[in-house]
Every structure is written in C-alpha cells, then in structure tokens.
Symmetry: C2
Subunit: 250 residues, 2 copies
C-alpha cells in the first residue's frame, strides 16, 4: 500500500521550523527583542516543545538567538569580529593586546595534548597563566597559557597578588626572542570553568584556538584560547584595519 505520500517534504519539522523562525527574525524582530517563551512558541507552531527546542538550538548555534535560563530567548546581535592575529610575531601580553591577565599558578598537571606540543617530560612543571578577553563589555574568550618552567624560571615570577603573578610570567616571556607562531582552530565544548567565565552553560559550543610560540627551534609556550562560538567571528588578516562585516552562517 502506497504511503499516501501527500507530497510532504522529507524535510524534518525542526528544519522547516528553523527556516520559518529565521525569516521571522529577519523581518519582524529587532536585536535584543525577547521572543515568546518555548511553551507558547511550540503551541503556536503545533509541535512538541522538544521539537521547537531543536530549531532554537540551531539558531543559537548560528548566532541568531541567545537563550538564558530564567530570562528568556532574545534576538542576538550580529557576531563580533575578534582579531586573532592582531600583530604577528609578538608574545602574548605584548602592549595593546586585548587580554587581561587573571592569575598564574605553577603545576605539572597539563592536558595531554598540550604536554605533547610542549614536549614535556613527565612531571615537568609549567606556569599556567589564565587570561580573559572582553569586547564591548562582554566576555568573549578565556585562555590558558602554558609556559614550561624551562622557558620562564620560577625566580622571574615575583608578584604578590594573582594578576601580578600572571603579568610577571608574561613579562619574562617578552624578554625572549620569538621565532614564530602557529595557530589552529577547532570546535569544542566549554569546560565547566570556562563556561562559567564566558557566561554560558557547560558544554556550550566554543572555538578553541591553539597557539604555539617558538623559540630556539622548539615550542616555548602553548595557549589554549576558548572563544564563545555563538557570539564570535574570528578574524585573521593581512588587513589589520578592517574588522570585516558580519556574515550570516547557515
């Protein structure tokens, strides 16, 4: 028996919903405006709340919406262009970069991937400098910078409070010659602590930028920078002046 194909599209409901909502966002809503709540939207479109949420999740992933527990769903502003390549061949913490030193600790517990990049011997100690990046008043990224003690000795780290210690490590770095950098970008999900700092829930999608800094032919430091994927567009440019215009993805 033919399944009475009432020429329904093989298109999933949530996909169609997403399209409809996306067009509504373009034409009927202003940035910052608050949408009806999920239960009402689901009723209005005649779908289960879970299905509606699947559409909202995609739109949030694309940076069109912003959802906050206890508050509601709002129309997101265009993504912010964030320069990841501000000035080539400078150490982190060089004058004029957009990062704020938060803390620095010494530890030998390092993610396996970082240990590999730094070619650490087991138990070798590193400074972990924690920095955060704020643009337009919003936190956009959190960073862990791993600097082996072999690169910057303990003695150089003399600060009393947390940010001072961080600045001390960065200052010590500046005095070495930087031979080059290396970057990679990949999709990840926010660790609990980064999520808190970025004002997101754990597991939120993030763009992870891995930067390697080279000195004396080997890796002197590695930075793991975690950017909010919903609000950020990472820019790499010859043309440092132009931030670029937002591009809608999806």
């Amino acid at each position: 028996m033919g399944t009475t194909q009432l020429e329904t599209a093989p298109e999933p409901k949530y996909w169609h919903l997403k399209t409809v909502l996306s067009e509504a966002l373009d034409s009927e809503f202003a940035v910052g405006e608050i949408l009806p709540n999920e239960r009402e939207l689901a009723a209005r479109f005649g779908v289960a709340r879970a299905t509606l949420r699947q559409a909202l999740e995609q739109l949030e992933l694309e940076g069109r919406l912003q959802r906050r527990r206890g508050v509601g769903t709002t129309v997101a502003p265009p993504r912010v262009g964030v320069a990841v390549d501000p000035a080539r061949h400078t150490w982190p913490g060089a004058p004029g970069d957009d990062w704020q030193p938060v803390d620095a600790v010494e530890s030998s517990e390092v993610p396996a991937a970082v240990a590999r990049l730094l070619e650490l011997t087991p138990g070798e100690r590193v400074h972990i400098v924690h920095r955060s990046r704020v643009t337009h008043g919003q936190p956009v990224a959190a960073e862990q910078l791993y600097v082996p003690v072999r690169t910057v000795p303990d003695a150089a780290v003399t600060g009393t409070d947390a940010p001072a210690r961080a600045r001390a490590v960065l200052r010590a770095l500046q005095q070495r010659e930087l031979e080059g950098q290396d970057r990679a970008v990949e999709l990840g999900s926010a660790r609990a602590d980064d999520a808190r700092e970025l004002d997101r829930l754990p597991g939120a999608p993030v763009l992870v930028v891995t930067t390697r800094y080279f000195t004396d032919g080997r890796t002197a430091a590695v930075a793991l920078s975690t950017y909010r994927a919903d609000t950020c567009r990472l820019t790499f440019g010859d043309n440092e002046s132009e931030a670029g215009v937002p591009v809608l993805a999806g």
Copy 2:
C-alpha cells in the same frame, strides 16, 4: 516516592555520561571500533535514550565519535589538520592548492552578506565557482567562490563542461594582481547541499571560513568555505611545514 537520591551531584546526567563515555573511549576502544547501539547503551547506563543521545551528540561535536544512520556509532580518528593558509598572497586555484574545481555558474543571486562584502549593486552578476576539498580520501570542505563579472568578464569563461568553466574563472583570476587577503572563521550549520557533499546531515556543525581577496583597493572576490567541524582542525601558520599535533577539545 523518592528516587533514592544516591548522593547524585547537581551535574546533569548527560554531562556525567559524556565524561564516563569519554574515558571509556580513551581506554577501551580503538579508532574505528563500533560502539553498542544507542538503545543498549541507554539501558546499560540506566537512562532514557534521549539522554544518552545528548551525551553522544556532544562527543560527536568534539570529534570523538562518528554516527551514521543505518550503520552505527564508531570511534572517530583524531581530527585532520587542514591548512587554511597554505601560501599567502595567492589566488584560489593557484597551482598546488588542495581544491578541486567542480562547477561554475553565473548568477545574480548571492547571499546578502557576500553582496555586502563585494559591494555589489542590486542585480549585479557574479560567477559562482564551486569547489571541493578532499583530504585522505574524505571530503572535508565545500566552497562557493563569488567573483563579480566586473572582476572576471564572461568572455574569459570558455569551458565546455562544468569543471572546465570553473577552471576558466580561476585562470582569469590568476592574471590579476592580488593585493591581499582577509579571513574570518565562524561556526555555522551546513546547508542541505553542502551537507550532502560533506556526507553529513543538513544542519551539521561546520566551520565557515570567509576569505576576501583584494585588488585595486577593493574586494575582488569572496570565498565561503564550509569545513566539517567534527573532523577538521583548521591550521594557520607561519610554519607551513608542520601540520601540528591533534588537540583534544572539550
């Protein structure tokens, strides 16, 4: 009846599940190995299938798993490093780039964001060159390259079959002087056609790279390259030799 609160953390179940699975993947599974199916995994962990799926989705987002309808869930290989900056200051299609020309059409229907970048007048026509990128036998990216007819006149496009037309546009581009490039990376979700080409479902997470090519002080072409976010790590480097070692995100 109290659900026998066995001192459970305020941590969501799917989050805990993800951690447990992640560790199991590290220790008990080999790349390519197939996991038990979702219904069995859910039963084994004593959760609903939807909850289990939430954990699997995150692991897939992080590139740890690969799921295919009708087949199963397998352990994914480490992400492939894909050079996005292979040689600076070259036009697309320069000798040695990893893209394969697929087709070229002429059209005046262009995404609004692209029209803005190219400063197109309404109705202005462009060549849309479609290319695809394959690494290790797997499709990793699809690209639409938008070249205004003002940059490359129709007369230059003389091919008979589709790839030849694409190559003709690229060849015409090479003959202009390239003043600079500009790149941005953001998270998006795959359009239906790109998804098909990348062997993913529509809406799959992708990294969208927007490249602007400058000539005569203005934008001569714009490329929108869509990379599979689950399998790719985009690399930008001074050091073109080293592809970089995989970094686990999450």
